[in-house]
Symmetry: none
Subunit: 151 residues, 2 copies
Amino acid sequence: MARDLAPAQIDVSADLIRAAGVKVTRGRVRVLDALHAARQPLSHAELEARLDDPAEPAMDRVTLYRILDSLVACGLALKAVDTRGVFRFSAAGAQRQHAKHVHFRCTDCGGVFCLKAEPPPPPRLPRGFRLNEVAFDLRGTCAGCSSREGV
Amino acid sequence: MARDLAPAQIDVSADLIRAAGVKVTRGRVRVLDALHAARQPLSHAELEARLDDPAEPAMDRVTLYRILDSLVACGLALKAVDTRGVFRFSAAGAQRQHAKHVHFRCTDCGGVFCLKAEPPPPPRLPRGFRLNEVAFDLRGTCAGCSSREGV
DNA sequence: CGGTAAACGCAACCTTGTTGCATTTGGAGG
DNA sequence: CCTCCAAATGCAACAAGGTTGCGTTTACCG
Ligand SMILES: [Mn+2]
Ligand SMILES: [Mn+2]
Ligand SMILES: [Zn+2]
Ligand SMILES: [Zn+2]
């Protein structure tokens, strides 16, 4: 069963980066690959650890910061702050859809649940304010945690 | 109309601190006063600026951090991280009123602005979910930061 | 192939927050 | 009012996360 790798599948990250209109560099491809492979948003430190591959040339700390910023700037990655105040990055593809609906965050287990409802239109802003993002988050206890605690 | 100051009104912060079971110090009273007077959660840096009163002895940077931690520990203040990853503090109890309106969070300066609009009614939740809090947060650039950057 | 703007590596720097330790002080108890 | 000591403060040093400046390298356009 001599199978050849699906050629369309390889270099996904490189293609995305090219399509975003910025230079395709080894570093950017590696970082975007790592973000795609991750199942949770990663901090700079966590990314540095995952990129520590003896086969690849070591990447400078500052360069990693700049690569992350560039991926965010061209819309390929998302940046958010965690509860400790540290920035975490994720590949943009999956999250884009989450802008269109409301979320429920369980304060017990930390779980995030996507609700069917879409966020209401934002109110008018004061002069000079520029809107980038709308978050309609409900906080409370999810069904699982409610039943476990409410014995 | 010689009116005397209502004696019950003065030293609110000192009474709260005493009631919380920790020592009443000049620093703690000043910080809690500042938090009560604030209309938004304040960062350590913003508090330092507001406490810079030539009439009062200067407070050490580390002491301010420790005072804030102590107020949080005894339940008189709340600590939360802003969009830049910086901690912001508010007087406990102040956030009750903030549940009734929408907030704008500046991703540049981390500032939190109270908008006049009230949050929309929450959508129906799945069975078993218990709602505690509704957060309708707008993110973007505030007027001050917009003008400073958009030369 | 060049030529050039963008990306990179490195050193220095900044901000936010913490730790260790010696000194001062609030306030409980005499 | 005085004594005493745990708690609070001041100061120096440290640490993590992030940024800036600048000279060198590289992606990629023509
Ligand atoms: Mn979602
Ligand atoms: Mn508010
Ligand atoms: Zn839960
Ligand atoms: Zn701002």
